[in-house]
């Protein structure tokens, strides 16, 4: 199972990613949780203590590794370097392990522009592609809003994209951009999750504005989730209700994908 979670900043991608990771781990699955959004903090949401989380070095900042694998010093421009660096051995030696969950923090994976080929990006993209295409674990990627740095081949290997929206036009506009990109990439499975809803009318609002897309599940606005963020704790330990809502969403996604997980 490979899921990439996207949506506007602040809608709750990281919360959803962390709860899904814990749910799969509870089932006995090995999970690779990928923090691919430099503005997120998946470590904290997974419940990794802050002093531990601060020691996790993003892959984009591992200059020696980048140079070893791409043949180019980070920050260099021009010149030649390997566009397909070897990455298949990387997940064993890097990242932070918490029981069945391996957390990889990518750092700035984002493409500055579609044609940007810095050595750092080449390594990060190769690694993300490898995780999605080749690994047998459950892979959950906490993405930033854009998915355009995925190639068609990589995107086709994702079982589904989840777009998280909240009741508001701006997160819906971000979702529309994701639909358009998913279409371009040949991905049909894009699941809309409504978050922070204050009632059925909020879900109806989202369904009305999102252009005919079905909302697969919703998560209620929760003060407990805010409290978890204030304590720096894992949301999955804080709100049984939210975890149950995510469990329903997980079930529906699996049914839709028709996979026997």
């Amino acid at each position: 199972m490979k899921i990439a979670i996207t949506g506007k900043g602040g809608v709750g991608k990281t919360t959803l990613a962390s709860i899904l990771a814990h749910l799969y781990a509870e089932e006995g699955k090995n999970v690779i949780a990928v923090d691919a959004d430099p503005d997120a903090n998946l470590a904290s949401a997974l419940g990794i203590p802050q002093d531990e989380a601060e020691k996790i070095k993003p892959i984009a900042e591992m200059a020696d590794l980048i140079e070893e694998r791409t043949g180019a010093k980070p920050g260099s421009m021009g010149g030649t370097f390997r566009l397909n660096p070897k990455v298949d051995d990387l997940p064993e030696g890097i990242g932070y392990r918490m029981n069945r969950i391996l957390l990889l923090t990518m750092g700035k994976v984002k493409a500055a522009a579609s044609g940007c080929y810095c050595p750092e990006n080449v390594l990060l993209r190769s690694l993300l592609k490898h995780l999605i295409v080749k690994r047998s674990e459950v892979v959950i990627v906490d993405m930033e809003a854009g998915i355009e740095h995925l190639t068609r081949g990589t995107a086709e290997s994702v079982d589904g994209f989840i777009v998280v929206v909240e009741p508001g036009q701006r997160s819906i506009q971000t979702a529309r951009t994701v639909f358009a990109m998913a279409h371009t990439l040949g991905v049909n499975k894009v699941f809309v999750v409504a978050n922070k809803v204050r009632g059925d009318s909020d879900v109806a609002f989202i369904e009305h504005h999102i252009g005919g897309q079905h909302v697969i599940g919703s998560i209620a606005f929760s003060n407990a989730i805010m409290e978890a963020d204030m304590k720096g704790s894992a949301p999955s330990n804080y709100s049984r209700e939210t975890v149950n809502e995510v469990r329903e969403i997980k079930k529906k996604i699996e049914m839709s994908l028709n996979t026997v997980q």
Copy 2:
């Protein structure tokens, strides 16, 4: 007056930027509002109708302009191109004008990695630098979380950074990163604005966790602001209370900067 607004995704940077832009315009100032966060939608928050907003082309996507100014085709790599393209004439011919406010949408200005020099980025950075260093208007930049693509010289020309935080550890962590970067860049004026607060204890929580930084002002959690986003309308037309809170913040920032605006 030049202000760059930063903070974690979803904390309310764009809302604050749009209200500040309207307040300065009401005073009779010419305002350049810069949407430098690809995940934001400053056009919508300023009240530009969606069909108009969709016509605004981000500068990063103006391939002809980028090639003309940098000497390199967007998406090209290696080769040579001008690292200091001419940009001083640009603000007159581009962007969207709404009375006294000129909106510039940058597109993907973000640096993929610190050493990334794509032609698009070079043009965007030069333009941002020019706006901040040379223009006499009120410049309000809706930034993404990072400010590391500003150079020391550019950063010193900003009168102040505003970091927006909400009651939660994750937005506070983002703010801490901004403080560290501001310090590295030699900028002392970083103003913390607490947003979405539900009472004095939320402000106290933020002050306690933010490491001795003073909170210059706060904005209450507002259903009206959520409603504005649901309608796709300008927050400044929706919540008189929020506008007044921003007016207080603006006043305090001006006092702190000791500028006669």
